[in-house]
């Protein structure tokens, strides 16, 4: 297999067409009229936008323990097809990724699959129970070199524990990614609390339960001078709080999911659990606020919160259903639809929100770098003019719980390169594993 690829006529960050020469895992040259040696792969990329390979700061790969929902293999195939070259795998596995052993196992599974770089997230507390700090230092020092810690799925609600976690990870430049959800305010919560929940008789998940925790945490982060990352921010009030904190100089970053950029709680009216997610789908005003926050940089990152579930977890009544949505294979299209085609972001900003910023927050080397000579050849080619209908059955993820099913979305990932090797070509997995 050739180690040299010449991409002709791609538009880096949506700019003027140019050629990119990938050699030995790096970008060797960028410019007009490049040529490659005999035997190099030559790819006609006319009309395609080139972006640095996407980085997902929030993915649930489910392995170990919930292989009925997803495996590292199936989840990272989905990631590559979605244009990702690296994903951060959340810690709520069975066993929980709260020891060096588990994070190293996840890391090895990712390497064996070979579709993207898998970066394990370590749990903040033992067993995600919110009682005692997990061995954060051991995970940081392990072969997995963990820098992002999260109890995602659960909030580190104890203020003292959260303070200690924020302080402790400073020793190795870690970051606490908080799932902001005040537990008492959300006991048994089923959907966004508002006019729709009032009609449907489903217990409400009020915005304030997210905002109150974010407000507390930015003040804590300020007090101890630590890095805080806010997972899946979903409300207009949360955007305001993060905007205020950033203006004050607090070291806070935030992410929003594709589904919170596009969907609202009106979809719950049919009680179809495919729309059940945590935090819940909010209102149109919230959608507009998170879009604005992403556009002005208040929100740093789009992260999928890709959460595959087996069929039976959604094929039931609303209250019994699991929370979560798949997202890896639709994220870029949803962002194009919600942010680019609406004029809120250009492609350079998409590259920042979906690649450079998450790589920076996660302290991930080799990803999210500019498309220039010397950078690792991690990139994605997408056809922004393509349109496609979302069909969960045709996806690589084992989860069929896509809330975008049946929607016509713009933008199709044509090719993904991980250190110069095509993991996806012609919009299909190349099937070549392990570099």
């Amino acid at each position: 297999m050739s180690t040299t690829t010449l991409i002709r006529g791609a538009r880096p960050l949506g700019g003027a067409p140019t050629d990119l020469l990938l050699r030995d895992g790096a970008i060797a040259a960028v410019g007009q009229g490049l040529s490659a040696e005999e035997g190099a792969d030559v790819v006609d990329a006319a009309g395609l936008v080139a972006l640095p390979g996407l980085v997902d700061l929030h993915t649930h790969l489910r392995e170990p323990g919930r292989e009925d929902a997803e495996t590292v293999e199936s989840g990272t195939r989905a990631a590559a097809l979605g244009g990702y070259t690296s994903v951060f795998a959340m810690a709520n596995t069975f066993p929980v990724a709260d020891t060096a052993g588990v994070v190293e196992q996840v890391q090895r599974l990712g390497e064996a699959a070979g579709h993207v770089d898998v970066r394990p997230v370590g749990a903040v507390t033992v067993g995600l129970r919110g009682e005692q700090l997990a061995e954060l230092g051991a995970m940081a020092d392990s072969a997995a070199r963990v820098r992002v810690f999260s109890d995602d799925g659960h909030c580190v609600s104890d203020a003292v524990l959260m303070r200690r976690a924020l302080e402790y990870v400073k020793a190795f430049d870690g970051v606490i990614a908080q799932h902001a959800q005040e537990p008492r305010l959300t006991e048994g919560a089923q959907m966004n609390e508002g006019t729709v929940s009032a009609v449907l008789g489903l217990r409400g998940w009020p915005s304030v339960a997210e905002e109150a925790v974010i407000a507390r945490d930015v003040l804590l982060a300020d007090h101890v001078g630590s890095r805080l990352h806010v997972c899946h921010l979903s409300t207009a009030g949360s955007v305001e709080i993060v905007r205020w904190a950033k203006a004050r100089g607090v070291r806070v970053t935030a992410e929003v999911t594709p589904h919170h950029l596009l969907l609202t709680d009106e979809l719950v009216r049919g009680y179809d659990p495919v729309y059940k997610v945590n935090p819940p789908l909010r209102t149109q005003a919230d959608v507009e606020a998170v879009r604005e926050g992403l556009a002005d940089g208040t929100i740093d990152v789009v992260a999928t919160d890709h959460a595959p579930h087996p069929l039976e977890a959604k094929d039931c009544e609303w209250a019994a259903a699991a929370m979560g949505m798949t997202g890896l294979e639709t994220a870029l299209s949803v962002v194009q639809h919600a942010m680019v085609d609406t004029g809120l972001l250009d492609w350079a900003q998409v590259a920042d929100r979906m690649s450079a910023a998450p790589a920076r927050i996660g302290r991930l080397d080799g990803h999210g770098r500019p498309l220039e000579a010397g950078s690792p050849a991690n990139l994605v080619l997408l056809d922004p003019a393509a349109r496609w209908e979302v069909d969960p059955a045709a996806m690589a993820t084992a989860g069929r719980n896509s809330p975008f099913r049946g929607m016509q979305l713009p933008g199709r990932v044509v090719a993904t390169y991980l250190r110069g090797r095509a993991t996806v070509a012609g919009s299909r997995l190349t099937g070549s594993a392990g570099a």
Partner: protein, 319 residues
């Protein structure tokens, strides 16, 4: 209209049609031979995931008096994998050839899933789902009001109704607000702010926190007291009010409030009552109480619903 899932499924014409047919059904129930041959050979399944002897027997009587075959399926939900059991139970009933499924379930929206997830082809009647709706209760309440206040014909235009109590957790309140609005009545909800859902402002009704003021201002034709579970004052249950005594004083229908009601005002309660909490024995047993009558009217209304759904003659609506 194939299903009755929400009171909002009924437009004014459809709602009046149900009430009119219920009048006809009630008339047949005064005959010596109560049984009608209308649904002979059809199968009605009562699928009850929650205990409710009152509602189940009412539906059972309704179906039997229409000569339908009735299967009572008591599937009181175990705490685990309720979802699987809902789907699998539905598939089982489908295999038995259920023409109508009357479902009571603790989860809001379960009847919606039953009707629309492709698990059964039968007509689905919501007999109470979680804290969502209980449309046949609203129909029998409307029937009762129409009987007393409008001579048993037409709609409820201009009728003033005060609904008091735990609106937040009440499927009866949701269905009543929707149906009474459709029929032209004016509804005022009275509850402590903790027992009203966020978003109630968008409902087609007025809202008050003061029972005495509401009764004086509205001069209602009907006062409907909702059941309040005393445990709701516990912190673990949400701590919605300080004590049963305080609730009773502020929102209960006791002797004094009863005496202050207008001469023709009727007192309603969907049952089961907590005597001494939301309603005193004086009020429950007074001459203006329609509480026992409501139960009887339930059979006629449910006969009408089953007949219209299975005969395919229920106009209007969206389900």
């Amino acid at each position: 209209m194939r299903h009755l899932l929400s009171a909002a499924d009924l437009d004014a014409a459809a709602a009046v049609r149900v009430l009119d047919v219920a009048e006809e059904m009630a008339a047949t129930q005064r005959r010596e031979i109560k049984k009608l041959p209308t649904l002979r050979g059809r199968t009605v399944v009562n699928l009850f995931f929650e205990d409710s002897t009152r509602t189940r027997t009412s539906f059972e009587a309704a179906a039997k008096r229409l000569s339908a075959d009735v299967i009572n399926f008591s599937a009181k939900g175990s705490s685990v994998s309720k979802g699987e059991s809902l789907k699998d139970t539905a598939l089982t009933l489908e295999a038995m050839g259920a023409d109508a499924v009357v479902v009571r379930h603790g989860a809001s929206g379960a009847p919606h899933r039953l009707a629309h997830a492709g698990w059964t082809r039968g007509a689905v009647v919501n007999a109470g789902d979680g804290t969502h709706e209980h449309p046949t209760q609203a129909l029998l309440d409307a029937y009762t009001m129409r009987k007393h206040l409008r001579g048993g014909t037409g709609d409820l235009a201009g009728v003033r109704v005060v609904v008091v109590g735990d609106v937040l957790h009440s499927r009866v309140a949701r269905s009543n607000v929707l149906l009474l609005h459709t029929l032209g009545a004016h509804v005022t909800l009275v509850a402590p702010p903790t027992l009203l859902p966020v978003g109630v402002q968008a409902w087609p009704c007025a809202v008050s926190h003061h029972l005495d003021a509401a009764l004086a201002d509205v001069a209602p034709d009907a006062v409907m007291m909702l059941r309040v579970q005393a445990e709701r004052m516990d912190a673990a249950q949400g701590g919605f009010f300080p004590s049963a005594r305080e609730y009773s004083r502020r929102y209960g229908l006791g002797r004094e409030r009863l005496a202050a009601l207008g001469e023709r005002t009727i007192v309603m309660h969907p049952g089961p009552m907590n005597r001494g909490l939301e309603i005193s024995a004086d009020a429950a047993d007074s001459a203006r109480s329609t509480i026992v009558e409501q139960v009887g009217n339930g059979v006629a209304v449910r006969m009408a619903v089953l007949y219209l759904l299975l005969a395919g003659e229920l106009p209007g609506g969206h389900a």
